[in-house]
Symmetry: C2
Subunit: 438 residues, 2 copies
């Protein structure tokens, strides 16, 4: 017997076929209609949310839920306005499907095109954020993908209310309401992760544990990252003021972000001059340093803690910064390859040769020169909307915009050509002429 | 204790770091040197091969090895010349790394580039073909990836001799010889498939069983395809002669190829006119038809077999063709989505609207209009060398050239910018200006 979750995924697959032939205008109207209905049904949403909050109250009281999570869970009029604003912003982005990436004449009257198209069905697993429902639905519709959402139980009632509204909008606009679905409970995650025939990509949005669980339990491609251990390397010719400003921004602007810096590597030739300033700045910004032996020795007056076992491979997500003195740029790169998570790394230097070596040799999704790691972000990169940040090397790497939700197909238009004519003694020759993409 | 295979993979990882900073010229010289040495050591290679052949003789006699495999295994002077020719052809291709895919000004003096770079370490698992060693080594070097090869035991001695020659050439050219390595025996496959920290991509080159085994036993991305069930849909307005020529080519040119056609779908309005011609053509070309009920009835005189259970989802790889009459283009597309392998499908029609619907709606790596499915091939697409054909939707889809062995990184060049300046009350605005790629 087909399980309820599988039935949802099968319906999503069918809906994805219809979405893939819908027009961008139709999908844009559906996003607009959904945004409008979310705004209009504000009262109903707040009521559903108050039930989620009531269920969360005892967890908050017992300490089982942090107040930060409780606040994320709480819907407000302002948050609803922000949801609709962000849906409408996704609507404004260019259509990511149907783009011709390459056009080649293979022979006269035989033209090959490489064209973007939707992936199909996305499974998105998230925890307590209700804005994930509207954002993912908008991203899915924009890219003509169906989405099956699995929400954390804390936010279930709010998510169900939102999904009902969005499905209503789809249906009003003549698109299948199964384009967006929500499954609840615990079992669906494992089930979804096994549906290699129905789900084309899994996107876990949540803490490291969730991402690692998903990565360990599926053969469906996963878009995301488990951790962001970002480095700043202060080269021997670094401008000290610039390095301090970049470290300050990268550590304190939003310490819990994946693009926040965790480790500063300092060239030994600048260390004695740089480290005291770093210690001063850190003290003033409430950042606790953890040092290597040499750092601790050089900053003896500051009595900083030493980095503990595995400390170099740890995402503090807090106002804590690991500091290591290295002998050379090679040692810095080696450290990054050994302990990093291939997310984003910065070199601060005035030496253009060192900069180019670092940018070329460091094997991370983002490699920066004289700029904060915090720029590693879809909005800042100019992508409009961000699906997530990928530290995998395949398909999409780094911040991922709508393009990450597409694949491509090769379209060949001929007039009866057969391959046999292009081989053997009297073979026709291919022209293989690259044509312009208008 | 580190296993021997893990040590090989660790050495490959180190070599990949050095390859990634080598120049294209250096890698090209290494390919040329390797090709030259292969040619010069021809006698030694033939001797190693004669030992593999001697070991295979009893298997051939007992029927454990097919004569086709035995012939693939056998090295000849001509095959060695072809190996070196194809290595030199890979050398001539444009460098796939270091290509700027996108350039964006985020703000004055803050420029983001998306640049191609190697994946790192590739594990390639193949069976009895010794030309795989030279081809994969050349592709790996060209794209600055290290490769760990796992050869079938039948070809082990030949493969070891080839690898020793290629490693010698690498070393002569100042590149790490661990850039190319061979592991032997049975256990290494499972071990390699578990090395998520050292191997970036697995490429199984071999029969369906091998590919399925690899796909089922690794979380490393796999490039390849388990099966190619390609369809030709003969629409109601098809030119019958054209349809017959395309089917003939797609079925008989090389029936064992993954891009050979397995199933012909025929619109009911053209069926009574088309099927008898198809039956004639098939008879003259020794192709056995297997029909749906309607096909069998219409071709009662030809007494063709009916398609058995699961026959629609079967890669015959032989001179056998399944034939089904469908009521509409929608039914044809539905059939393809239900039974196909998302490899390559063709519509034969004079109706441009039907053609565009088919090209747009069919969810396969290749969708063709009035051309043989056999064009789905890296050489024919103009890619120069083909790594394989992918039926996965992520990273690379369809025939994969050198580009499929690269990923990209985002390189950001600044002058001390911090993200904090671009948010809050007096936020600087991003310019997000798309710049030209020279």
């Amino acid at each position: 017997m087909t399980s309820p979750v599988r039935r949802v995924a099968e319906a999503a697959r069918r809906a994805s076929r219809i979405l893939s032939k819908s027009s961008p205008e139709q999908r844009n109207s559906a996003i607009r209609a959904a945004a409008k209905l979310v705004e209009q049904n504000r009262q109903q949403l707040l009521e559903a949310n108050s039930q989620d909050l009531a269920a969360a109250d005892p967890m908050l009281a017992s300490g089982e839920m942090t107040s930060a999570t409780y606040e994320r869970l709480r819907l407000t009029g302002k948050k609803i306005a922000e949801m609709t604003r962000s849906m409408l912003a996704v609507r404004e982005l260019p259509d990511p499907t149907g783009k011709v990436l390459q056009r080649t004449e293979l022979d006269q009257g035989l033209v090959l095109e490489k064209i973007t198209c939707p992936l199909g069905v996305l499974a998105v697993i998230f925890e307590a954020r209700s804005d994930a429902v509207t954002q993912i639905s908008a991203l899915g519709l924009k890219s003509a993908n169906a989405v099956v959402l699995k929400a954390g139980h804390e936010v279930e009632r709010t998510a169900l209310a939102l999904i009902a509204i969005i499905r209503g909008a789809l249906s009003n606009c003549g698109l299948p309401e199964d384009s967006v679905a929500l499954v609840t409970g615990r079992e669906p995650v494992r089930e979804l992760l096994n549906m290699t025939d129905l789900v084309d990509m899994v996107i876990p949005r949540g803490p490291k544990q969730l991402v690692e669980f998903v990565q360990a339990n599926t053969r469906i491609p996963v878009l995301g990252h488990a951790e962001g251990i970002c480095h700043i390397y202060v080269d021997e010719t670094a401008d000290i003021e610039m390095a301090l400003a970049i470290i300050d921004d990268a550590k304190t602007d939003y310490p819990a972000a994946c693009n926040a810096a965790e480790t500063v590597l300092v060239h030994e030739k600048i260390a004695s001059q740089f480290l005291p300033s770093l210690a001063e700045m850190s003290r003033s910004r409430n950042v606790a340093l953890r040092g290597c032996e040499r750092t601790c020795a050089m900053l003896a007056d500051h009595r900083i803690e030493s980095v503990k076992n595995a400390g170099w491979h740890h995402e503090y997500s807090d106002l804590i910064l690991a500091v290591r003195v290295v002998d050379s740029i090679d040692d810095a790169i080696e450290h990054i390859h050994t302990y990093g998570s291939s997310h984003t790394e910065t070199i601060v230097t005035h030496d253009p040769i060192a900069a180019e070596r670092f940018l070329n040799e460091v094997d991370s999704a983002g490699v920066f020169h004289n700029a904060s790691t915090r720029f590693a972000d879809g909005y800042r990169y100019g992508f409009g909307a961000e699906v997530g940040i990928s530290t995998s090397k395949l398909h999409a790497r780094g911040p991922v915009g709508l393009d990450g939700l597409t694949t491509y197909k090769y379209v060949l238009r001929g007039s009866g050509q057969v391959a046999g004519d292009y081989q053997g003694a009297n073979a026709r020759a291919f022209t293989h002429k690259r044509l312009a993409i208008e």
